[in-house]
Symmetry: C2
Subunit: 335 residues, 2 copies
Amino acid sequence: MNKNKQILLAKRPEGTPDKNTFKFVETDIRTPEKGEILIRTIYVSVDPYMRGRMVDAPSYIPPYQIDDVLGGGAIGEVVESKSDRFEHGDIVLGSFGWQSYYTAKEDEVRKIDKDIAPISTHLGILGLTGLTAYFGLLDIGEPKEGETVVISGAAGAVGSVVGQIAKIKGARVVGIAGTDEKNKYLKEELNFDEAINYKTSSNLQQDIAKACPNGVDVYFDNVGGEISDAVHVNINKYARITVCGAISSYNLEGKDVGPRIQTTLIKKSAKMQGFTLGDYTDRFGEGSEALAKWLNEGKLKYEETIKEGFDHIPDAFLDLFEGNNIGKLLVKVDK
Amino acid sequence: MNKNKQILLAKRPEGTPDKNTFKFVETDIRTPEKGEILIRTIYVSVDPYMRGRMVDAPSYIPPYQIDDVLGGGAIGEVVESKSDRFEHGDIVLGSFGWQSYYTAKEDEVRKIDKDIAPISTHLGILGLTGLTAYFGLLDIGEPKEGETVVISGAAGAVGSVVGQIAKIKGARVVGIAGTDEKNKYLKEELNFDEAINYKTSSNLQQDIAKACPNGVDVYFDNVGGEISDAVHVNINKYARITVCGAISSYNLEGKDVGPRIQTTLIKKSAKMQGFTLGDYTDRFGEGSEALAKWLNEGKLKYEETIKEGFDHIPDAFLDLFEGNNIGKLLVKVDK
């Protein structure tokens, strides 16, 4: 019989995770009991927030413990069912992470419709990624028609959806990303109004000012650090800053230190608000419906970077911090 | 005839203002024309925000120009009226600043009622100070019954009102101030639950944690800097941080640098929002009414530190940054 391949947390990383962070093991596959199903994993998601869970500190989700299975969102096929709710061949979404098989209780996963869009989109634009963009932008950023929305990490999974929703809402959209290829994608494929390459910019603060002649009304921040410092200087009166991620700081060994934000917030009567998707669980229905509608209307496009092979999951995860991927990064574990 | 004594901005300060910042001059008093009144100044207000206006940078109120009359809120007596709306002996409130006389257009000032409370309160608890506390706490901080509210600069003009309003709303109130005398006042006179002396604390972060066993739900920040860094570490999920002032940074010659706040805001789904009173002009009526009611019911106490003599205005202003005063700091210029 097949074995279950798993990737466990071997050692908490200091700074950037490396091969010592991960441990590959094989375990027996547990046969499902009544009310359970056996899932064969097809896709697993790799996301920046997982770096945060590798640290042993209280946060919005509990940290991984040593020898825990890593990862989070995953999609698989039901290969054996002892539940009335599922049958062999159903495609399901759950949080079973980086393992090739999972024996789930029937209420741990939900069935996804194979016909609306490729199933992988449920880990991306129709899943937590899309919902994160939707609530962070609309509930905290509240862009109004004609306002300017700036996004850091703009070509990433969340950022690329944020920009498109902001365009749907009639805003001027400026993305910040780290390669010309990404910026070309933002402008030509996603119709961003401007895109700034922070790596080649000699004066980011000035380049943001140039790209935002009317100032910055909404800043959707995935990155933090010096990129955000440069955006903050350009915000308008009553600006809203959605703090979604701070990927620049996740692998820092020292402290994340920079200009304090207080005087800027006072002068601009501005709001800076952090969130995690868990704050919006009771509104997931609303978000999913809107995203699916826009996707069907052709108003939302998405890009996926799909790596292949279970053994490459850690590499794919580490790629997130290299900033090379466009759109949602996934690993296809099996067909 | 009397001369008008004025204090002008002589030189923009770098770091802490000193005697070279100010210039005393005497000018002729302009006789009021139709629709105007002549005011003899009684009280002038000195406030931390005036330091910000001495810098030549765009902010929520225009910076002072060299040779501008300094100051802001002031109270005086009408000594000559060419307006139907005012008569000799009326007490008026306006923004005519640090000068002994002022010839005002009738719509530049408003009459105040001498009978509700001492007239000086209109520069303090019933004036901009009280309104700042009211809107900053209730509109941004939104304390709920049983929540914990922490205030920096707690014995200052704004802070001492914030704490009392938080008590009225049923919160647990913890003040941070810089002398034992102030903290005694906060606990014994204003019924704060705890008060922390940041100057004698050997571990402020820990002392805040001890004084807030249930964490910090609302932080009303008048101070910024390291004091606020220590509070931020202690905030709860869904905390609200009202950023009202950052007096620790106003006289800094270098940059105001410290831990970036993004990851804290994400982990706690917390909000940090700056404001200035100008954001609430259309709700001043509501605020003034509530403050006067609480004052009459004995639910609000106030302390004033009143210096005497026109020549001491700059000293009084500089005292703000020494942190020696309790409550609202005013200068009585004339009887």
